[in-house]
Symmetry: C2
Subunit: 237 residues, 2 copies
């Protein structure tokens, strides 16, 4: 049975692969980093370099600042600050270049704002880093509430982070929608908290299959704009 849409007053969004293409961003940042390191003298094929980088991220986490040091070590190189710096510069420049919203992100947020919905963000990560993303995306002024795991002490899919978010914006979970790409985090946790759930089929998790009832979203969408249809908002723009 579908949850009620008429009650909805607040819409919460995940950031990565929901508001912008973080899968493409990371892919291109890593590729450009490997290319730059090769130009600076690293001898490795692009394919092998990328595989090792992915291995390092799995092992040390995505916020580990010494990924390229580790890459050199795994390839049998001594510490080489020139090659590492070439990778770091290319990686960061590419990350910045791809920190732009999906084409329909801003029109969707404008449509929701103009229909008087309260907007929020629920995201896992380091709070300064997640805020920096919102600021560089130019989206920070849309949101009445930004809830980050680092600040509240709970991570998705813990239902408490969703309940805290709803409370912070002044509504109940059942008056809220959660939009996100990950069924095991966004959808599962928001369902448990009692929110209406919308899965956006973008990024590297788009082919993931629900393993249980909690991972089943109320709605599946391919583009953010479809939220306006779900809420029966007429598109003015």
């Amino acid at each position: 049975m579908k949850k009620k849409i008429d009650n909805i007053r607040a819409i919460f969004f995940d950031i990565d692969d929901t508001l912008y293409d973080s899968t493409l961003q990371v892919k291109n940042a890593r590729e450009n980093a490997i290319k730059a390191m090769k130009e600076a003298g690293l001898r490795v094929t692009e394919e092998k370099g990328l595989l090792i980088l992915e291995e390092i991220v799995r092992e040390f986490g995505s916020n580990y600042p010494y990924q390229f040091n580790e890459l050199l070590k795994k390839l049998g190189y001594k510490f080489n600050p020139r090659i590492i710096a070439a990778g770091v510069a290319a990686y960061h420049s590419t990350k910045l270049a791809y920190l732009v919203p999906f084409p329909d992100t801003v029109p969707t947020l404008l449509g929701l704002r103009d229909s008087d919905y309260k907007l929020g963000v629920i995201t896992d990560g380091i709070s300064v880093k997640q805020w920096e993303k919102l600021i560089r995306l130019g989206l920070q002024h849309f949101f009445h509430s930004v809830i980050i795991s680092d600040d509240v002490g709970y991570e998705k899919p813990d239902d408490r982070i969703f309940k805290i978010a709803a409370k912070s914006i002044g509504y109940k979970p059942y008056e809220s929608i959660m939009v996100g790409d990950r069924i095991d985090r966004d959808i599962s946790g928001a369902n448990k908290a009692g929110m209406v759930t919308v899965r956006i089929l973008k990024g590297k998790y788009k082919n993931q299959k629900p393993r249980n009832e909690m991972e089943m979203p109320d709605y599946n969408i391919k583009n953010l704009m479809e939220i306006l249809e779900i809420l029966k908002i007429e598109r003015k723009r």
Copy 2:
């Protein structure tokens, strides 16, 4: 008595305030960070904000990553990731924007290269960070040797870092020129090592007075291009 110029085969450069305007870069990065934090809700005058930031850099060092956290603390604020992220984003964008060589840096390096001098860098700092500067400045391919305190274990004005640099490039210290802005580090150490010393009068240390013989440069220049005159190189470009 002036040291001999006829023997010179290698020229070493400091990076900050020698190859690019790091004083202006840091000044503008801090100002833009304070402005962005004010826009994000921080209540402080620009003057006071800058004074406190300078105090923090003196206390914690210029590579301290939590300068803005500390600023908020000193102003009686609780941790606020939104304000901090606004500062961080503005600071880094400004630093990147000002990471360009002085107008006469590239013409000077080209002139020296075309006259078959070996070129090097001697700099204090974290090696990946200093390499990243050279790469973003687009100068990395000029240098046969880049010696960074972090890698060799000695900092300016220790004469050993200058001796290591000369040896790495294949010449004696007396066959080398050191160009830098700081008499207490670049000039003092290079004099002790036996190099010919050129002080460039740029940046925040340009009015510093020598306190002893070792801090007296062999030459004072206002623009990098004057090195070509010292070496009697005809300008072709």
